[in-house]
């Protein structure tokens, strides 16, 4: 595929990296020459210097032969104008990053969809949604939805006292026929294992589950954890993500305290948020955090733009016995480090947004896709088509690659975990788990 990306910000560069690894031809347009040079040196793509909304630059980028257009600068106007230009060039798919929610209102004839974009993404909002989803499953890392939201994927770390500890997977209930949930991946010391019968669960493992949204209690029991809902949250840093997040909290009746060092920003947040307590103060002022009730918080969210601040305050909060700590990360390299020090949940806007774009690009019979952060696992949901390889055969007769797991199957609004005797039918939705390098193999199975 020929792909044109506008904007070499965090999102743009991450996308370019991911997509070029999948052998797409990528042209990246960036206005800042320093940044353009840096990307050119780092990734094997074509980088053009210029304004993404300028007709001349867009022409030079070769929009005539472009298959996919991604406008992901941090300016709504540039993104909208450039994707409008792309639709004049008849580019089949146009994705624009837009944070102004008014453009999402489909009743408005100026809605971005009506202006020629196929998908709108708002990284900050999606990131906020991701965090709020994580909090719905307290203690979890990663969260992805399948089967229209009824089936979810999430990671939990079993306690040392859990029943499952030190046992072989084949002796445990999950992955057996009457199981209510499935273990789809295990992360150990930065390495990813796809579970097999002889896999042993060890202390320190992060175990990824696939389960029905309504039946999470068995998973918690399995991990030796208790599920207590979150009522009080402290949010550090008044970024856009925090703003969206606090709006979500207000709807869920979660009481939030937000700390923002910039006075004008703090006032603006106070204006936009109705029931959130906004504190103007230094995020590293630990006395302030204690005074504003850090110790009584169920959850601490470090969402400042600075990874190091997030890490340090996160550790401090963990030390003050805050049960759940989530830190926002810009650099993926930190993720394993975070997990090690106990700030075991972390999210980053560029990962969430890359997920939604990858989901869209793969399109076709893939209805959902997700990656587990800091690991090489990809989880995809396929719809079985009439002429697909997997159609009509018991699973055991398929020559499946080694590192492929079939998770949930959804048939006629029923979800079940497949086994070797399961025969897939057309119309079924199947959640598959693979390592990233193998995802083409599995795509072939379903084509």
């Amino acid at each position: 595929m020929r792909i044109v990306i506008i904007g070499a910000g965090e999102v743009g560069v991450h996308l370019a990296e991911k997509l070029s690894l999948e052998n797409h031809d990528i042209t990246l347009i960036e206005a800042n020459s320093e940044r353009a040079q840096k990307v050119q040196d780092a990734i094997d793509i074509l980088v053009l210097e210029g304004n993404g909304a300028s007709p001349e630059v867009l022409k030079k980028a070769g929009l005539e032969n472009c298959d996919l257009f991604l406008a992901v600068t941090n300016m709504d106007e540039v993104n909208i104008v450039s994707s409008l230009s792309a639709s004049r060039y008849n580019v089949p798919f146009k994705i624009a990053r837009v944070s102004n929610m008014e453009f999402y209102d489909l009743d408005n004839f100026l809605a971005a969809k009506n202006l020629g974009t196929d998908l709108l993404i708002n990284p900050e909002f999606e990131c906020a949604l991701q965090v709020s989803n994580l909090l719905k499953i307290p203690g979890s890392t990663d969260y992805a939805e399948f089967a229209g939201g009824d089936v979810i994927l999430f990671g939990l770390a079993p306690t040392r006292e859990a029943d499952c500890m030190g046992k072989l997977l084949m002796d445990l209930k999950p992955n057996s026929e009457e199981a209510q949930f499935l273990i789809c991946s295990i992360s150990r010391n930065g390495e990813t294992l796809l579970p097999k019968g002889d896999t042993l669960i060890q202390p320190g493992d992060m175990v990824y589950f696939i389960a029905r949204r309504t039946e999470l209690d068995p998973v918690y029991e399995f991990c030796g954890l208790e599920r207590t809902p979150i009522r009080r949250v402290m949010v550090l840093g008044g970024s856009k993500v925090s703003n969206y997040l606090c709006q979500i909290f207000e709807k869920q009746n979660i009481r939030a305290t937000l700390i923002e060092p910039n006075e004008r920003k703090a006032e603006q947040l106070a204006e936009e948020l109705a029931n959130t307590l906004i504190i103007h103060g230094d995020v590293k002022d630990l006395d302030l955090l204690i005074e504003e009730g850090l110790k009584e918080m169920d959850c601490f969210l470090a969402l400042t733009p600075d990874d190091e601040d997030n890490m340090l305050t996160g550790i401090y909060a963990k030390n003050q016995n805050v049960e759940h700590v989530i830190a926002l990360l810009g650099r993926l390299e930190y993720i394993p480090v975070f997990k090690k020090i106990g700030v075991h949940t972390s999210v980053s806007p560029r990962v969430t947004v890359t997920n939604s774009i990858l989901k869209f690009i793969r399109g076709g019979n893939i209805t959902s896709a997700a990656t587990i952060q800091g690991s090489q696992t990809e989880i995809m949901e396929f719809e079985v088509e009439d002429n697909a390889h997997v159609n009509g055969k018991p699973l055991r007769e398929l020559s499946l690659p080694d590192d492929v797991l079939f998770g949930m199957v959804r048939r006629d609004h029923e979800d079940f975990i497949p086994n070797g005797n399961t025969v897939l039918q057309s119309g079924d939705h199947v959640v598959t788990i693979t390592l990233s390098k193998d995802h083409r193999k599995i795509e072939r199975l379903f084509s």
């Binding site: 703090a266 204006e271 307590l277 906004i278 504003e292």
Partner: protein
Amino acid sequence: MNLKLLVHTVSIVAFIIGLTQILAAGVAIYYADGSAISIIISSFLTMIFSAIVFMATKTDRHQELSLKDGFGIVGLSWFGASFFAALPFVFSGAIPEFTYAYFEAASGLTTTGSTILQDIEVVPKGILFWRSFLHWLGGMGIIVLSVAILPFLGLGGMQLFKAESPGPTKDKLGPRIQETAKLLWIVYVLISLACFGLLWAAGMSIFDAACHMFGTMATGGFSTYNSSVAHFHSPLIEYIIIFFMLISGISFSLHYRAMILGRPLEYLKPLELKIYLAIILLATVLIYYTRFPDQIPWEQNFRESLFQVVSIMTTTGYGTADFELWHGVAQITLLGLMVVGGCAGSTGGGLKVIRIVLLVKYLKTLLNQQLHPSGVFLVKLDRKRVPNRVVQNILGLFFTFILIHMGLSFLLSLFGTDLVTATTATLSCLSNIGPGLGEVGPTNNFAGFDSPSIWILSVAMIMGRLEIFSVLMLFLPQTWKR
């Protein structure tokens, strides 16, 4: 301050007052009550005088009104308009003494509804009509009217509009201020017609229906009978008047959006309206219970309680019961309502519900700030931030209101008025209500005051109508410097 321009503009307002007196003359001729000649004389005198002044101060140079001029014009217009509006009372002999006639005219224009007439029923109908009609003119504002019908006020009209229309924030209904003024008057006229029609259908004579409509729509309170609305002994009429007093206590630009633009859901949006209705409901229930020992039928109790609450809250001042005889709780409640008043942008007086709401919200942020010293707390209304400037302005107004109230009450007491009468009469005039307690209770009138007190109260009424600052500005030397 541009004196020439100021007098020029005030003369226009005076002319309108003279012109409308012809209407009252028509009523006087129809009923042949003997007051026609004197009303016509005062009408022509007013018009000729103002026309001469108008011509004399005319300049070819196009002049812009400054903010200062706006305040000056509005303040002087109201004092001047009251002067010319008082002439028919003097000429007809209904109120021979000018001081008292001026009070009556100011009470009419400012929609206060306090009267110095001991026996209303012997006054000629033409004069009674004029008295009530003054309410209706002053309700939506004579300046707003001038802006609406006179295109040459143009840009400066905004300054005038700002200075006259009540409330801390102004709604502009169109790109031009003239359009806004026009639309407001159209809504006002339409609702007035509905009110008139219903009162007439409910059994009032055309004359009574018109006069009571004027008093209701402008939240004034002049009646054509000594016993006010109680005279009719008709629950239906009382409910109709309650309903239209309620309507008049709500912002007319809200009525415009909801009724004329056909978006009734707009009524559900503003917090001010919700609080306004909540206060009325709460006060009614409270007073209803304090009157239990009186053993009155529940419907009558409810109706009378609701009527008095709505009448006082909207600053109308009509009466169907004598609240002087009620429980102390009921009286204090009514006194509180006097301070609150109607919604911003309505014809009601008082401090306006919105200001009270914002003050309470501000108090809340102060308390929160004590708990969280580095917290950021803003005063917000309908999810939008209220600028500090506006909050400070309200605090200032509130303080000035208390100060002026204390000062004027003190002056009244100097002339021998007792505490209850002095404080409630001043409050009643500052909030443009009508009745107070003591010697100015609902069954009494203001005839007992001597001339100095009457002048003090006249100034208080105009101050109250223009929300104090516009009038206070007139007393500042800086205002008059070039």
